[in-house]
């Protein structure tokens, strides 16, 4: 213990912590005065999210209404549902809003008001979903690229109910790779986006949800599911190899975690992919298992001499995992405190950065602290700025992306494509994420909390 190790943070901070904080403040100062589009109160979506944050009952009804909305086919249906969802005393809605909502259900302006509502909900969805199909999404991707932000695209529609749907999803992914590669080849060169420390990296980049590719996927039926999915994914990976495209396997629910990891390894062990350097996997820092999984992946990668991408995320199914574990009386797989997930994220970041001989790191987060930590730790290890990348969700945290991009880092957007109906699960997850009390974006851009508090180092036990 030195005499400086007092209760004053600045004195007890390690050198590296001082650097992280400095970088964090720097990023903050560049983006604080801007507002991410989702919180823009000039728009209906911003107003609705704003009210959701202060009114729990309204949030529940609003999210449930948004969930049912795409399946409502007639105006009559929509009117009934508005009545049933919002004409309740426990909502304590502001008079203007209540009046506005009920105006949709009766009177001569009703049809016009409904039209406006439909437009508003579609607008809300479009904040997070780039287009209904690849054709709609391509101009958006081009705009991104022109603003020096790269992308990975994902097709929404997370669960296949039957093999026809699964086959259809497979075709869509194959089609996506072809169209992306064809179209993007005409775009301008960008050394910031296309050069990594290990060489040139593809413009095309897709993220695949394995649950969309097999309707009978069940970890109980492990071996057979593995065979079926491997066959389908080999088609995608080979197509990616032919068209110079990166493919990430997204990580979904905990139930599929072990399976997804096994599938990933099995794919890369296949002879057909022995030269494929563009595969990636996603790890979720909120899972208590992930450190062990990461170490096993590194060991496996070293023994097979394979390089692959790891996208480190916090994890988007926290509510689901917590609910399922309680319902089933299973040990909860996720850290219960958000700070613990944040601390684990940093721990995993360090492990990843210590193994860039195997892993090509991608740090996916909207949390400036987590990103500043990753960048500083990379710098500390003398890794060049293009030896890793930073990933964020399309439509979110624009000011942060802009700041990082201007600092010269490779920023990649996760860009979903798809219809509103299959996209609903994704949309509701995003809305939950943005309105949560613990959302970094909300704390930074809505609640305007102090930067120093938001940048404080997370710990496992406090």
């Amino acid at each position: 213990m030195t005499k400086f190790n007092s209760s004053y943070n600045t004195y007890s901070m390690s050198d590296i912590e001082v650097k992280i904080q400095r970088l964090g403040h720097n990023i903050f100062s560049q983006c604080r005065k801007q507002t991410p589009s989702i919180f823009n109160k000039d728009w209906w979506s911003g107003k609705m999210l704003d009210l959701s944050m202060s009114n729990k009952n309204f949030k529940l009804q609003l999210f449930r209404f948004i969930d049912v909305f795409p399946s409502l086919t007639s105006n009559e249906d929509i009117r009934h549902h508005i009545q049933e969802y919002f004409n309740r005393d426990d909502l304590h809605l502001p008079a203007t809003l209540k009046f506005g909502l009920l105006a949709m259900t009766e009177g001569i302006t009703s049809s016009l008001a409904l039209l406006a509502l439909k437009k508003n909900i579609h607008h809300m969805a479009k904040l997070f979903i780039s287009g209904q199909n690849i054709e709609e999404a391509l101009p958006q991707l081009k705009n991104l690229w022109d603003s020096e932000i790269s992308f990975t695209t994902d097709l929404l529609g997370e669960k296949a109910l039957c093999e026809k749907e699964a086959e259809n999803h497979l075709q869509q992914y194959l089609n996506l790779i072809e169209k992306l590669s064809l179209t993007s080849s005409a775009w301008k060169q960008s050394s910031q986006l296309e050069t990594a420390s290990w060489g040139k990296i593809p413009r095309c980049n897709i993220s695949v949800k394995i649950s969309s590719l097999n309707s009978q996927l069940d970890p109980l039926n492990f071996d057979e599911s593995l065979i079926v999915l491997k066959t389908r994914l080999l088609k995608i990976f080979k197509k990616a190899q032919d068209h110079n495209c990166t493919v990430y396997l997204d990580m979904e629910h905990y139930e599929l975690k072990d399976f997804t990891l096994a599938l990933f390894k099995s794919l890369l062990e296949d002879k057909a992919l022995s030269n494929f350097q563009e595969a990636g996997i996603v790890l979720q820092a909120y899972l208590k298992d992930t450190e062990r999984d990461l170490l096993q992946l590194i060991e496996w990668g070293s023994s097979y001499q394979r390089k692959f991408y790891v996208r480190l995320v916090k994890g988007a199914y926290w509510d689901h995992e917590t609910t399922i574990a309680r319902l089933q009386n299973w040990p909860c797989p996720v850290f219960q405190k958000k700070e613990h997930s944040d601390a684990n994220y940093e721990k995993l970041t360090n492990i990843i950065l210590d193994h860039t001989n195997v892993i090509r790191p991608a740090f996916a987060s909207h949390n400036i602290r987590s990103l500043a930590h990753a960048i500083t730790q990379a710098h500390q290890r003398d890794l060049s700025p293009n030896s890793f990348e930073l990933q964020m969700l399309w439509g979110m945290a624009e000011p942060i992306k802009k700041a990082l991009c201007q600092m010269g880092y490779r920023v990649r957007d996760y860009v979903p494509i798809g219809d509103l109906v299959p996209g609903m699960a994704f949309l509701v997850r995003r809305l939950l994420e943005n309105t949560s009390n613990e959302s970094f974006l909300r704390q930074s851009f809505v609640d305007n909390e102090e930067a120093s508090g938001l940048l404080r180092a997370p710990h496992f036990d406090e």
Binding site: R64, D67, V68, S71, L72, T73, D77, H80, H81, E84, Y85, K159, L161, C162, E163, K164, E165, S215, Q216, D218, P219, L220, N221, F222, E224, S225, Y254, E255, L256, K257, D258, F259, Q328, N329, W330
Partner: protein, 533 residues
Amino acid sequence: METLYADFKNEPYLDFSKDENRNKIQSALKKVKGSLGKNYSPIIDGKIVASADSGDGSAQSVNPAEPDMVIGSITEASENITEQAIQSCKKNFISWGTTPVSERAQILKKAAEIFRKQKSELSALEILECGKQWREADGDMCEAIDFLEFYAQEAVHLFELKQMGSEPGLRNTLYFKPRGVAAVISPWNFPIAIPVGMIAAALAVGNTVVFKPAEVATACGYKIYEILKEAGLPDGVLNFLPGQGRLIGNYLVRRPDVSLIAFTGSKEVGLAIIEEAGKTPKGQNHVKKVIAEMGGKNAIIIDSDADLDSAITGVLQAAFGYQGQKCSACSRVIVLDSVYDKFTSRLKEAALSIKVSPAEDPGSAVGAVINKGAFEKISQYIEIGKKEAQVLVQCEIPQGTTGYFVKPTIFCNVQPNHRIAQEEIFGPVLAVLKVKDFDEALKIANGTQFALTGALYSRSPKNIERAYKEFEVGNLYINTKCTGAMVARQPFGGFKLSGVGTKAGMKEYLLQFVEMKTVSENTQRQGFAPETI
């Protein structure tokens, strides 16, 4: 709202996403297969018995997916042996009925512990003997453990003396006493959980039990006997009678020394038991109590705004899980006109994607039905359905199998009065009915003899509220499938011709296994009475 049983923790299902849990079942299957072919005989007072008129051991329990695989041979009990079992129970009731409830509960809890340890082997046995898929078998084990723990816990509460009223001068006490000899006649579809539930309830409150398992689930039934004995249950408190239901069951129901009959099975047998048990033959100084859980013709309503992804998944699991051989299984799906086409076309494709194979295969979504009789009965209903309605889809079954596989079948254009929409088939056969609105949906859902389970997939708060009030079933599920009830969370049982008796898996179930007594004692002496009691 008051919360009941918030402290009760259900036994967790195995998480099959973990390889160690998959391996457990896989190696248990190997182990169990290596030790098949035992003989199962009646056991009375802890001893194996046989008599001149008992079976010769030629009866067998076999694997329904592979009938050449003999699970065990059975020496069937005769009437004579059944009478011995009743008399043994009658004799042992004197001591068991007066054993402190805490001691009885302790034995049940010990049994739960043993079940936990043997869970994998027992699941494997169920998979082989009754054709239950892995998850179904594991669920059955967990439910059995829950019944033991729950009834043990609740019997202790029940036997705490209760005071009625608080006025001074007269002390009113309520207490309970066991009824006597209970006959437990159990089905094969939940071969461990259902008999364990009925036996545990009877034993916990002090009755002795003659246990007659379904013949096709004899090996599973024997395991229950074996574990309870290992847990310390005295000899003769539970007597084990394998054999034919027609013979043993009929005899048990008629005997004057039987006080209570707990039955789960078909409507026909259940109603016959109720009728027969209502008689009071000479020498019988009590009216028999019958607890009968019978059948269902359970419906799932698909509202126009339903989340079809979860509705279709739920319908298929509820209709085809364990080959539709659950009293809670869905056999009718009632679909609002506006989503009918979309729903049926996706349902059809989803059904075509599932795998029909022996339950031992971890990929099996539908396996073989229990025996030849079931196979024939279900096949006949499929023929009836073809005449009455139209086949929407029929799944393929494994080629060249000797197992009792029927093609899972979904009929559309079914009318409410069709036999396939009214009669319990107890197999993987589903009738789809189209309705114009929610009123008609409820009317048709309620339009059978049964009222066991039902489900509604809807996102309309108003229709959900109506279902709470108007959907006439014992167990209603909203936006989730209508099977898989859990102890203390979804106490199970219906009304109309679906059964008589209180729901299994809640405290009140135990009340059927006891007589109630109130004692009023004058505590005054010359006007002087204690203030408190």
